[in-house]
Symmetry: C2
Subunit: 377 residues, 2 copies
């Protein structure tokens, strides 16, 4: 089964560990995309028939994603990227000047940027929680202020691979009447999650889910939904428009206008391939096992320093070559590996290299990476 | 030249007059899209090489669009759709409660929706101008109030085909210190425009420009740029992120995060095909000539009523079959035509049928539409 999936990735001997940057689009997903372009052009592209086909595709992809996540389709908004989804959530709250917005020190620029903008626009107090070393639950508890209204955290920290306890942190915050917005870019498609423990979860589908770039989602729980107003809107946001728009009561209210539905067809196919590959639990275990092999190999290497003292709980493994002192050093190492068909990435803060291990990577690929790293330093 | 372009549209005898709904993606544009998917997957898809290729493609498409519009690339933000671009402009202004937002009675739901939302969110006074019958310049002048801060109008009205005098209206409004935001969905790619007469112009590229769905732009003049703050933001909006994001001083500030750059490659190719087909003036004249032929033919038909007393100035021709009394009547006529390979659309308000005539449509296709309409009623 995994061999059949790997055969669709046009690997040709390449060793790919950048699923956390962008996933490989399987050939059958690309073929779905291409056949939709040709078929819908032939049916229109603007026609009553094409309109029906596009609406059905949106519905099918939403349902497939909902099935993978274990949520109701009505709780999902289809979006362009993780950042797009985070923006929907951040701009949708009824902020008052002086409200507190708590953000960790490990967030991605794609989350920092909208958090800063919303804070500027609405005069919010920006609050920070340092997660790099501390016990995350205790750190969040200590950082919460009486005026804190939202906490923005990553499910899996992009710059260390650490997994945060979603359920415990949400529970803590719910008790204080505080919402938690999760950046799930490195979590969705990796770790199964009980969404009854989640208020707001934003992710892309072009990384671990291996859909095309330009696909993503926002999950909003039914309890939180009435508290979120739409910001960017268009003809897809409302049930009717005259005399005034009536916004959809579900996740569609946050969807705007014409989108490349062909990409959603490709995503549906990628989701089907994951479902065929095994249950979410099985895939998560395979990811942890393989990432753990890499972690053990790096631990045995005196020339590198691992970020994190425990074996990885998700797909990201981060380490610092002791001789790499600058980001440029790391970039040149990445380039050297790339020239040899091995793909990892450099992270600027904290300085490290990062490998994203997916369930269909192999022990042989991990050995190849370790061997290349050994030659490199 | 036009034959070569038509050969790329997979028409196979179909008569397509829905360019104002969605353009036909030329085969060579689709092939560019497909080859980018395959090539970038092979180069990464997440790698230093792929990052460079994507950045170059974004830059090339922005430059090609700027060249077609006759503006500086720095004034353009690449966006997903017309509505997306309108949202950027509408949410970007520093609104105060009670400010006036003037919108015409002929706007598309994709413009009405964000105008209503912004008005709700910031407590704006919604003001209306009736354009359906009046002299538009005089109507706008009479509708402006002392508190009006923004006027939202279509360059070409989607539901009648009427063209508004962009330069005159902008001039009038500038004298009052009022900005004009143009919905250019039916104007861009049809009518050449002197952008020195424009403050804000939003459009899609999947209609008349014949790029893929999911491509569009916002033009913001250099004078207006400092008055517009970014709303949805992400890693593409800022030059650097630490300690705080520094937003780009140009149109990139309104771009968010990862997008399907493959679509921009396809758009670049579509723009090149238009440039090869002739100057913007020549293409606009061909559109007017052909739309005029359809208009004359409909005028001679006693069974229909034309919307507009003058021959069309752009690509849209709108008419009402006198026996069609409901939107459902119109939809069933559209369906009947669609079954015979002829594509037009029904408009709900005012009730009418609409044909979008592009420069490469033919006299024969117009005759085929007129003949089918004659059989229909």
């Amino acid at each position: 089964m995994l061999q059949a999936l790997r055969a669709q990735l046009d690997l040709d001997g390449r060793v790919y560990f950048n699923h956390g940057g962008q996933g490989l689009l399987p050939e059958s997903s690309l073929e779905r995309l291409i056949s939709c372009y040709r078929h819908w052009r032939r049916c229109g592209p603007f026609s009553q028939q094409a309109e029906r086909l596009a609406a059905e595709q949106v519905q099918r992809t939403r349902a497939a994603l909902a099935a993978q996540l274990g949520v109701a389709g009505s709780t999902l908004s289809l979006a362009e990227s993780t950042s797009h989804s985070l923006n929907i959530a951040l701009w949708g709250l009824d902020w008052r000047p002086g409200d507190g917005l708590l953000v960790s020190d490990c967030e991605h620029p794609g989350a920092l940027a909208p958090a800063c903008r919303v804070a500027e626009r609405f005069g919010l107090q920006r609050q920070s929680v340092v997660l790099s070393a501390a016990d995350p639950l205790a750190a969040v508890e200590a950082a919460l202020q009486p005026n804190t209204r939202l906490v923005l955290l990553s499910h899996v920290l992009w710059n260390s691979g650490r997994v945060l306890p979603v359920g415990q942190i949400t529970q803590l915050c719910r008790e204080r009447g505080v919402l938690v917005l999760w950046d799930g870019a490195q979590g969705a498609g990796v770790l199964p999650l009980d969404y009854s423990q989640v208020d707001l979860y934003a992710s892309t589908c072009h990384k671990w889910w291996m859909g095309p770039a330009g696909t993503g989602f926002l999950y909003v729980s039914e309890q939180v939904r009435p508290r979120l107003q739409p910001t960017y809107v268009g003809w897809r946001s409302a049930e009717c428009y005259w005399p005034d728009p009536t916004w959809y009561p579900d996740g569609r209210a946050f969807e705007v206008a014409t989108i490349p539905v062909e990409l959603l067809a490709a995503l549906e196919q990628s989701l089907a391939l994951h479902a065929q590959a095994g249950s979410a639990d099985l895939r998560a275990r395979a990811i942890r096992d393989l990432a753990g092999q890499l972690w053990e190999g790096l631990k045995a290497d005196p020339k590198v320093e691992l970020l994190g003292e425990q074996p990885p709980e998700a797909g990201l493994v981060c380490w610092r070559p002791k001789r790499a002192l600058t980001f440029a050093d790391l970039r040149s190492r990445v380039q050297w590996l790339e020239a040899r068909g091995i793909f990892v990435r450099a992270i600027p803060q904290p300085l490290c290299l990062r490998a994203s291990v997916h369930y269909f990577n192999t022990t042989g690929e991990i050995a190849a990476l370790l061997e290349a790293l050994d030659r490199l330093d």
